[in-house]
Amino acid sequence: MSDTLLTAHDLRREYHMGDELVRAVRGVSLQVERGDYVAIVGPSGCGKSTLLNLIGGIDHPTAGSVTIDGARIDQMGDGEATRFRLRHIGFVFQRFYLMPALTAIENVELPMAEAKVPREQRGRRARELLAYVGLGERHDHRPAQLSGGEQQRVAIARALANKPQLLVADEPTGELDAKTGAEMIELVAQVNRDGTTIVVVTHDEDLAHAARRVVHMRDGVIVDDRRQDAP
């Protein structure tokens, strides 16, 4: 029996850029099974990041639906969607976007603090997560004191803080050099092996190659969707 975590049905997203109507996503339907690792690839402007934003609940579709674990996030208001993202979805961005005034451990604790996890418990989990991503010794460093790869590791630890069912990542290796990128690919794969469902948008062939399923997009639609053997 299949165990579907995410269902996107006939998703469309249109917006105006000046006088021009941009149809970024034009009727995409997608199902992601629990524990899967999906890479969405395609040329720039094909709508893959827009699709990821819709899946992650940080953008609203013009039409269609997004269901995660039985909840229609496209129908949620701002407050409800925010609370849903906090508990169910982890985000990793190309530019890391850590809070510069906070230390690594404080950045990881931030979503847990928002979720009202007791202080002692969140400190313990943040330390475990930093150790998990290989930054066990750098708890008290601020983002400016960390390399790009280290910052992205902190961002992954932050994304995992509230044990989300789904982790969405937009070009997580986009700002990293090849060696650091390879380490990141391995870390993302490890997160998936440990049970977290992952949807990643990337131009990075190596990252896409690490996924179990690769979805190709072009001009706002899925043109290819195939499973591949794990490397």
Partner: protein
């Protein structure tokens, strides 16, 4: 931040100015515990040269009012002292030395005999006299005869600070009976003013009513009455202070709004990512508002120090106006004023942070991230 500090300093100064003179004058009037004053009918104390006749009878009537504790008659006049070829003229106060409320002895002792006087620093400097010296002084001048009248010899027994006179002012105080005698029939048994102290626990307004009933030919004023009249005369200062204070507050508000707006614009990525990872909009707004308040608070603390320094400087300029009592201050620091200014600034900081923070926290997450990535 400097702008916020300057705005906070100006606000504090204006708050101090709006109440300073009133507080200062009230403190001065109450400094010797006299809550009531009697002046010639229709005047304020020393507002004119008019005097109250039959002073001994006034004292007798006042003593029949049980709530009256102390009566201090004062007669104003002039004293002319010849020093070599020069004549030094000074303000003379005829007082009862044992109950007077016009000066404080800073050196020597109060007058104890009819021919003893105490004098201000400026008088002693001008005449070259010292405590223990003898001076020949006259109380009047006859322009027809071109001669001084009512001449007497005085022993200088003390140096005094005159509470109601400017710091640099030639003044002497001598027994009221002596000054009355020197002025002859013109001022016999007259007084310019009576200062009255009520018994402890007595209701001053009740005492005032009793005096008004017993002495309808004089004007009795309490401190509160005097302050009301001062308020009317000084309303210009309060209005000016209010307007300048409001302008300072508005400038501070706009500065903090600008600072918070710039800060929000520089951190749009951070803000929308906080929203993306599930931080509630209200939490984001709160955090940014706290930053706005922190800016205002730090500026305000710096501004309070700056405000005290500028207030002292401005006070020294205003206090140099001719004729003002040395004890009068235009800017009086009271902790309540500082807290008031700090409270106003904090409220302004909160209001200044709300709009830019709400705007930042309400931006569409996906579009903002895309624009940030492009930018």
């Amino acid at each position: 931040m400097l702008g916020v500090a300057v705005s906070a300093a100006m606000l504090l100064d204006m708050v101090m100015l709006s109440t300073g003179m009133r507080v200062s004058l009230r403190t001065l009037l109450l400094s010797r515990g006299f809550q009531l004053r009697l002046a010639p009918k229709g005047t304020l104390p020393f507002d004119t040269d008019a005097t109250i006749p039959d002073a001994s009878n006034v004292i007798r009537v006042l003593r029949t009012i049980p709530e009256v504790s102390t009566i201090s008659p004062v007669l104003g006049g002039q004293l002319h002292v010849t020093v070599g070829t020069r004549t030094i003229t000074a303000t003379a106060l005829g007082v009862e030395p044992s109950v007077q409320g016009d000066y404080e002895i800073t050196q020597g002792r109060p007058s104890a005999r009819p021919n003893e006087l105490v004098a201000s620093d400026d008088f002693l400097r001008a005449t070259g006299a010292k405590i223990g010296d003898t001076l020949s002084a006259a109380s009047g001048y006859d322009p027809q005869l071109r001669s001084f009248t009512g001449r007497r010899t005085f022993l200088v027994v003390g140096r005094a600070r005159f509470l109601y006179m400017p710091a640099e002012h030639r003044a002497v105080a001598l027994p009221i009976a002596t000054l009355q005698q020197m002025r002859g029939a013109e001022l016999r048994d007259r007084a310019s003013l009576f200062m009255i102290r009520a018994r402890e626990g007595a209701d001053v307004d009740t005492v005032l009513q009793h005096i008004q009933a017993a002495l309808p030919a004089v004007t009795a004023v309490s401190i509160e009455t005097a302050m009301r009249q001062v308020d009317e005369r000084m309303s210009y200062f309060r209005q000016l202070a209010f307007i300048l204070g409001a302008v300072s507050l508005a400038v501070g508000f706009l500065l903090v709004t600008t600072l918070v707006t710039v800060s929000v614009n520089e951190r749009l990525g951070e803000i929308v990512v906080m929203r993306a990872i599930g931080v509630a909009r209200s939490r984001v707004v709160l955090q940014i508002v706290i930053e706005g308040v922190a800016i205002m608070f730090v500026g305000a603390i710096a501004g309070l120090g700056l405000g005290l320094v500028t207030a002292r400087y401005l006070n020294s300029i205003l206090a140099a106006f001719p004729g003002l009592p040395a004890a009068i201050d235009f800017f009086v620091f009271e902790p309540r004023d500082a807290w008031g200014a700090l409270g106003l600034l904090t409220v302004a900081g909160i209001l200044a942070g709300i709009y830019p923070s709400w705007r930042g926290a309400s931006l569409p997450i996906a579009i903002t991230l895309r624009e940030e990535a492009v930018g």
